[in-house]
């Protein structure tokens, strides 16, 4: 009897949780396949894929925005890794003077609400002609992703057994060669994880692009935002689903790379 009640409670709570987690997502899917939906109907009046046609036609804004988003995200990953891997290596393995201070400085962007910083960056970019350009948006995304990238890279490098490096040095490899051929490959899972994070963060980034990119650079989140505020819920819902594909897809991939101990090392 008590067991049954226990299961009822557990079931109820888990069911409630499932509703709260999946309800909003289900709503999104409903709007993606609705054509007409108004009060007082609880469900759409007519269903169909009419708006999918509109969203995916080759000249549509959404396809262009998707292309822009992927382009920006790709370049951001390259820029970020170019800066983060050396920094992560230094901070994770070597004795860097002022290590605490440097870490603090790199942590700073995470500690400040970035809306404020972004509209000032936009103003700065106006002055140097970077506002409304892809390069400008990439810089903003890269700066945002840099912190996570350095953290994860440093943690990945720190987790490598120094014995392996010593072994390479012992047989005559230089410091640089050891770093490139021994240490870096060993840290690859972590570096890849940080690349994925940076890519996703850039793809989903909204606030920075809202100030720096408008009106010339439209990323997918911006397109979704505009559609939503204009009341085009069907288009907003479909665009949102497109945005979700890489995120949910990578969720499965990331689970492989992010082990619990490495997570505990962060921060």
């Amino acid at each position: 009897m008590r067991a049954a009640l226990g299961w009822l409670l557990r079931g109820g709570l888990l069911g409630g949780l499932a509703f709260l987690i999946f309800g909003p997502l289900a709503n999104l899917i409903l709007w993606a396949v609705a054509i007409q939906w108004y009060f007082p109907h609880k469900l759409p009046l007519s269903w169909g894929f009419k708006y999918w046609g509109e969203v995916f036609k080759p000249t549509s804004d959404t396809i262009a925005a998707l292309g822009t988003s992927v382009l920006i995200a790709s370049i951001t990953v390259v820029v970020c890794l170019l800066l983060a891997v050396p920094a992560g290596y230094a901070l994770g393995r070597a004795q860097v003077p002022g290590r605490r201070l440097i870490l603090l400085l790199l942590l700073l962007p995470q500690a400040f609400p970035n809306v404020a910083v972004y509209f000032n960056v936009a103003r700065l970019f106006y002055m140097v002609g970077l506002n409304g350009t892809i390069a400008g948006v990439v810089l903003v995304h890269a700066a945002h992703g840099l912190v996570i990238a350095v953290w994860i890279a440093a943690a990945a490098f720190a987790a490598i057994d120094p014995e392996l490096e010593l072994a390479a040095r012992n047989i005559g490899a230089s410091a640089g060669r050891t770093a490139l051929t021994v240490t870096l490959p060993l840290a690859m899972p972590g570096v890849t994880a940080s690349a994925i994070f940076v890519f996703l963060e850039s793809l989903d980034e909204f606030t920075g692009t809202y100030f720096v990119g408008v009106p010339d650079v439209t990323t997918l989140p911006l397109a979704m935002f505009t559609a939503s505020l204009a009341g085009n819920y069907q288009i907003a819902a479909i665009t949102a689903l497109v945005l979700l594909v890489p995120s949910v897809g990578f969720m499965l991939v990331v689970e492989r790379f992010l082990k619990a101990e490495m997570l505990a090392k962060i921060g």
Binding site: P24, L82, A143, G267
Partner: protein, 272 residues
């Protein structure tokens, strides 16, 4: 010295794209359009948006508290839960919102939480509430719901990771002595992972202070978060002075959270 060269580019980026704009922001907040130092911007900011400033603090604090509560509960159940099926279900359920970007979450919630939205309609269909007495949650409460929805999985992930790497001996010892689940959670587990909880909640707090998409899309009018007011000030009037005054207020709020984090981490010398 060569080592520092490795770190220099990253530092340069932070300096150029963060420290310098931050300095610009501070200067702009504390001077008039002609460059004379003054507190006029702050006076105007408080006069027009004082209400929103209070509400921002309330919204983010309540959201952080709720997030901490739910994350601890989820983490606790994952560690202590006696029924493997229920634990497995919970583990697969709770992570979903983590990978939904804020802006998509805002769009979902916009229709879900509305007066005639899916949530109310479902509750009404199930007979759990009376439709006439319902109101939409599309105001500051909706912002809290969205924030908690988004941030709980993140903090819960950190927390459950930390709990998993704890020494089970302490837990089993307490269980053997007859302590119930809740007591083990609050007296044995949470104190040991308090550091990581603080980290996670601090990050969540600052993240929430930075979000623009959620308040713009969910809450129509006042009170709203000051991020919306900042954007409004900049976009509609080009008034960087007042916008930066509001920004300064948000820095102070974040500063509180960061100070707690620093005290915690630099003190025990843990972390990176």
């Amino acid at each position: 010295m060569g080592i520092l060269l490795l770190v220099a580019p990253a530092l340069a980026m932070v300096l150029a794209l963060f420290v310098y704009p931050l300095a610009m922001s501070l200067v702009s907040a504390f001077t008039t359009k002609d460059g004379a130092p003054s507190l006029d911007n702050f006076a105007k900011a408080f006069e027009l948006y004082g209400n929103d400033i209070v509400f921002t603090l309330v919204i983010v604090s309540v959201s952080t508290a709720l997030t901490g509560l739910f994350a601890a509960a989820i983490g606790g159940y994952l560690i202590l839960g006696a029924h493997p099926t229920a634990v497995a279900i919970l583990r697969s359920l709770y992570r979903w919102p983590l990978f939904i970007p804020f802006i998509v979450a805002a769009q979902c919630m916009r229709t879900f939480l509305a007066k005639n939205g899916l949530m109310n309609n479902t509750l009404a269909t199930l007979g759990l509430v009376n439709v006439g007495s319902l109101s939409g949650l599309l105001d500051w409460r909706g912002i809290i719901v969205t924030f908690v929805w988004k941030e709980t999985p993140f903090v819960a992930l950190l927390v459950s990771g930390a709990m998993a790497s704890l020494d089970r001996a302490t837990i089993e010892a307490a269980a053997n002595l007859g302590a119930g689940g809740l007591r083990i959670l609050t007296e044995i587990i949470l104190p040991q992972i308090a550091g990581l909880m603080v980290v996670g909640l601090t990050l969540a707090f600052v993240t929430m202070l930075s979000v623009l998409s959620v308040p713009i899309m969910i809450s129509g009018g006042s009170p709203t978060m000051i991020t919306v007011d900042m954007a409004f000030r900049v976009n509609s009037y080009g008034d960087y002075g007042v916008a930066n005054a509001l920004a300064f207020v948000s820095y102070v709020m974040a500063g509180l959270a960061a100070w707690i984090y620093l005290r915690r981490n630099v003190a025990d010398g843990s972390g990176l």
